[in-house]
Amino acid sequence: MRDANKTIKGTMRNVPIMEIKNIVLRFGGVVAIQDISFDIFEGEIRAIIGPNGAGKSSMLNVINGFYHPQDGEVWFRGKKRAAMKPYQIAHQGIARTFQNIALFKGMTALDNIMTGRFTHMRKGIWSQIIWRGAASQEEYENREIVEKVIDFLEIQHIRKTPVGALPYGLQKRVELGRALAAEPQLLLLDEPMAGMNVEEKEDMSRYILDVNSEFGTTVALIEHDMGVVMDISDRVVVMDYGKKIGDGSPDEVRNNQAVIDAYLGISEK
């Protein structure tokens, strides 16, 4: 996988890979996002937290093109992004996982992760028809990268298992694998640890930290478990009722009164 661009924690250059500027998103009368701005630095782990319905998932959907905001701008790598379809954004190097697992149920774990290589496979229809030569060559090269992802996530034993037959925790891991296989520059994770037990959460935290430190992948994640968020993230955005009520390092956020009132206070009761 990507070894260049490696960013070592503590030597962060604070270059924003993504800037969210004054995003407003409405569904009819419901204002899901109210004038929110924040940025994501290259190489950091950025957490987005907030109570249910705060608009966190909607924010990821804006970033990867499922929702089109009524107002505001998304800047990626220093350029204002035009309105794009989700598949075009995937080709820019943004991958994600979903809050509710969105795997391809009819395919094996291996095939699911292979689909993650889609943006890297360029051979046209005629070479695929012939298969031998160019297309098979490309397939095997990409398979090699996928095998590295499989090793990294320690899921060798379930390679050929249809994902529908896997337990929840492993499905979440395969979904992460599919996103990683894309070798994204920005990885969006929507509640990657929801519904997991402590051990699975620890594993998942470790994978996220390793992806970030080993491959330099920028990560933006939504998470409810405050312990995990405080442990692994560099900076945290706090949302409540579609508004941003806090932004800063985990310590700053923890001591922010508005955040304590809106979120921490409630969850620590």
Binding site: K85, T119, I129, I130, S136, E147
Partner: protein, 358 residues
């Protein structure tokens, strides 16, 4: 241990992605090829060609085509009969307009013509799914049949409204027309089946096949990995229609020789091919063959057994056929959506362990 997977170790990714990873399967495949090419042509006669082999080969192509669209890409189509008619009429127009054009090219160009028509009728799939798409393709079916019936240009204004295939040959062998031999026709169809199955296998095992399956399983997730739904769906419609068009062209020019469109390519054809795909197995090329074989052989077997052996009346045997097919459709849809292909896999798994289960 009739069937062994043990002792088969893969040391490279190319070995791991073979079509027939188990040696026994590969032998069986070569066995079928050798019998199909070196034995059958010498023993084939009019009865076997007409009742079993030609329809089996041609329906296999149609079933693979529909399986690409429905089994792999998840887009339902009830327009198969209509698209077969497009292939048939394209081949007829080409044969009559260009008498010197090689029959091989005629069939292939007919496939391309059908691909274009199929892609046009696939456009609604970008907006609608499932039941509504099925209805839209049903409309395509009726529209196409009406068109070929109504517009004289398509049947060269023949008095009967039928189209009749002129004699065309490949090298010295007559392929179409009343004087073509069953062996030549069989080999001609065999060639297409072999090539098209191989192409389908290559397409479905790589990038484009995975993009179809991704659209089928979860279109939202397909988009976030970079699949353009428009390209994936329309390519499935185009390639699927190519197959169905080739099948239609062969069905008319090689198999039937003369066609009345409302009879040969009615909605019933659409259902027959759909049943082949469901019974054989959605999303399986082997299943397309199994389904085609089953649907072609069942009436022949029932007729031979019940009518000729036991002296049952013909109509009772025909009704029994409907009951069996209906029952199987319900069974496969509810219990085993991967059809005969999956039953075959299960059987292999059992054989692999037999007689020493772990």
């Amino acid at each position: 241990m009739l069937y062994r997977e043990v002792g088969e170790f893969k040391t490279s990714y190319s070995e791991d992605s073979q079509t027939f990873p188990i040696r026994f399967d590969k032998y069986r495949y070569f066995f079928v090829l050798i019998v199909g090419l070196l034995f059958v042509p010498f023993v084939i006669n009019d009865y076997w060609a007409g009742a079993v082999l030609l329809p089996f080969l041609i329906y296999s192509i149609a079933a693979i085509g529909l399986n690409i669209l429905t089994g792999y890409c998840g887009q339902v189509s009830l327009g198969t009969g209509g698209f077969m008619a497009v292939g048939a009429y394209a081949s007829y127009k080409l044969m009559t307009a260009f008498p010197d054009l090689n029959i091989l090219f005629i069939i292939i160009i007919s496939g391309f013509v059908t691909a274009i028509v199929g892609t046009l009728f696939g456009l609604p799939s970008l907006r609608i799914k499932g039941f509504y798409l099925a209805v839209a393709t049903l409309a395509a079916q009726f529209f196409l049949i009406w068109l070929f019936n109504k517009v004289g240009w398509f049947y060269n204004y023949s008095a009967s409204g039928m189209i009749t295939s002129p004699s065309r040959s490949l090298g010295t062998f007559l392929i179409t027309g009343p004087d073509a031999t069953p062996a030549a026709q069989y080999l001609f169809c065999f060639l297409f089946v072999f090539l098209l199955a191989w192409v389908a296998r290559n397409l479905t095992r790589g990038k484009i096949g995975r993009s179809w399956m991704a659209i089928r399983d979860m279109d939202i997730a397909a988009e976030i990995i970079g699949v353009n739904p428009l390209v994936a769906k329309l390519s499935a419609f185009a390639i699927s229609s190519f197959y169905v068009g080739v099948a239609g062209a062969l069905f008319f020019s090689v198999y039937l020789g003369a066609v009345e469109v409302t009879e040969a390519f009615s909605i019933q054809k659409s259902f027959i091919v759909l049943f082949m795909v469901i019974i054989g197995g959605l999303g399986s090329i082997f299943g397309s063959f199994a389904g085609a074989a089953f649907m072609v052989l069942l009436p022949v077997a029932l007729k031979n057994l019940l009518v000729l052996q036991f002296g049952w009346p013909v109509d009772i045997a025909a009704h029994l056929e409907f009951i069996i097919i209906g029952g199987l459709i319900v069974f496969f849809l509810i219990v085993e959506p991967h059809g005969l292909a999956q039953l075959w896999n299960l059987l292999k798994q059992k054989l692999r362990l037999w007689p020493f289960p772990y």
